[in-house]
């Protein structure tokens, strides 16, 4: 079948050969179907690279968690499951509105599509907003990565103070309050106390500072009920390093996704999206669903550790 390939650049309102040449059909494709299929394959290939990207971080998570479950059991309690849960619900709903948007695009319903895209973007803002609240809380309490991590036992855990002990190794250097200058004044007081309350001597806790108290065998989740001492494992900052890199990279993808959806929204408003050509909505939707997919795994792995 011959295509009117030679009519490049001319007004398509003129009469053509047997096949109309849809404006959106690019010349190196024979049919719209082929173009659509190629676009889809291209997007899935890109998504595969994204999965591999996050896969690296999930691998780091797996290795560290396998080697140091005590760190994860201890540190995950600083995450707010409610916030994480709300974020999960927000992203899932945004996936729903995005998929609905694709459907509306396929049906040529422009107004509905615009509404769905707008709602999806708003959900993205909601997600980022909650993330901001979470991050801010962590920043204020020194729940950060690497050397910026502040020992937490002076507050927030709900236990009595740990028995005053010394850190056997200097694995955790507690930075002075310089890191938290924009935090509330309460954090400054913390820094003084923190220096006294560090962790357990290796001998007292068994090899490499396992966190278990006598009572705290399986149910590490029963924090706050133990009036006795909580053994703080070494290197808690590792958890937060992993937490911030994974959720941070994810949040970056949320932002990119929102930007892409906004671009698709502009295309729609300009009338470029039709029943026959909804590919941009479809592909941008795929990216957004991937963002949701990643969070579906991040949420239980980071927030719901038991």
């Amino acid at each position: 079948m011959s295509e009117s390939v030679v009519e490049h650049g001319h007004s398509h309102a003129d009469e053509h050969h047997h096949h109309d040449h849809p404006a959106h059909l690019q010349h190196h494709f024979e049919t719209e179907e082929q173009q659509f299929d190629a676009s889809k394959i291209g997007m899935w290939l890109f998504l595969a690279t994204e999965i591999l990207l996050f896969g690296g971080l999930f691998c780091a998570y797996s290795v560290y968690r396998a080697n140091h479950p005590e760190i994860f059991l201890y540190a995950h309690k600083f995450l707010d499951v409610k916030m994480g849960g709300i974020n999960t619900a927000v992203l899932i709903f945004s996936s729903f509105t995005m998929a609905w948007g694709v459907r509306l695009a396929q049906l040529g319903k422009k107004t509905g599509l615009v509404i769905c895209l707008v709602i999806t973007i708003l959900c993205g803002f909601g997600f980022l907003g909650i993330k901001y609240v979470e991050y801010k809380h962590k920043w204020e309490h020194g729940l950060l990565w690497g050397t910026h991590y502040h020992d937490q036992e002076a507050h927030g855990e709900g236990h009595g103070e740990t028995a005053g002990v010394e850190h056997a190794e200097g694995a955790e250097t507690v930075e002075p309050a310089a890191e938290t200058t924009d935090a509330s004044g309460a954090t400054d007081e913390l820094s003084e106390e923190e220096k006294d309350l560090t962790t357990i001597p290796v001998a007292a806790a068994g090899p490499s500072g396992t966190l278990l108290t006598a009572a705290d065998d399986h149910s590490a989740g029963s924090h706050g009920d133990e009036p006795g001492m909580t053994i703080v494992p070494e290197n808690v900052h590792i958890f937060f390093g992993i937490y911030f890199s994974m959720t941070g990279l994810h949040a970056l993808h949320v932002i990119i996704g929102m930007g892409s959806i906004f671009w698709a929204l502009l295309l729609t408003l300009k009338g470029k999206i039709t029943k026959e050509y909804f590919t941009p909505i479809d592909l941008v939707g795929l990216y957004w669903h991937l963002v949701d997919l990643i969070w579906i795994y991040l949420f239980p792995l980071l927030y719901l550790i038991h």
Binding site: A13, P22, A23, W44, V81, G85, V102, S219, Y297
Partner: protein, 119 residues
Amino acid sequence: MSGSNHEHGHPKVGHVVPLWMLAAVWLALMFFTYITVAVTNYDLGNFNLIIAMAIATVKAALVVLFFMHLFWDNKFNALVFISSLAFVTLFIIISMLDTNEYQPDVFQGKAPALEVEAP
């Protein structure tokens, strides 16, 4: 320009997902989210992680198959997707095998979860 105004009679590219199906998938996802949070109230030891991952995988499957349309798509797209998962799985499994093998020896006593082999 005017191309979009013509009804070419070109075959529709892509199948349109019914709205009820999208809504059902969304509700299922919310349900599984609720379940996965609720399960953390029960202590099942290592099984908690397995259950959490299983539920997450079900949710992911729902998103991929229905929201991302893979159920009706060209099977090659599914192949691409599954392959990426396969390679990530391989990546993680081999890394885990490696670390389990050597971690006890790297620093004695630094991996409490693993058996410390007698020297």
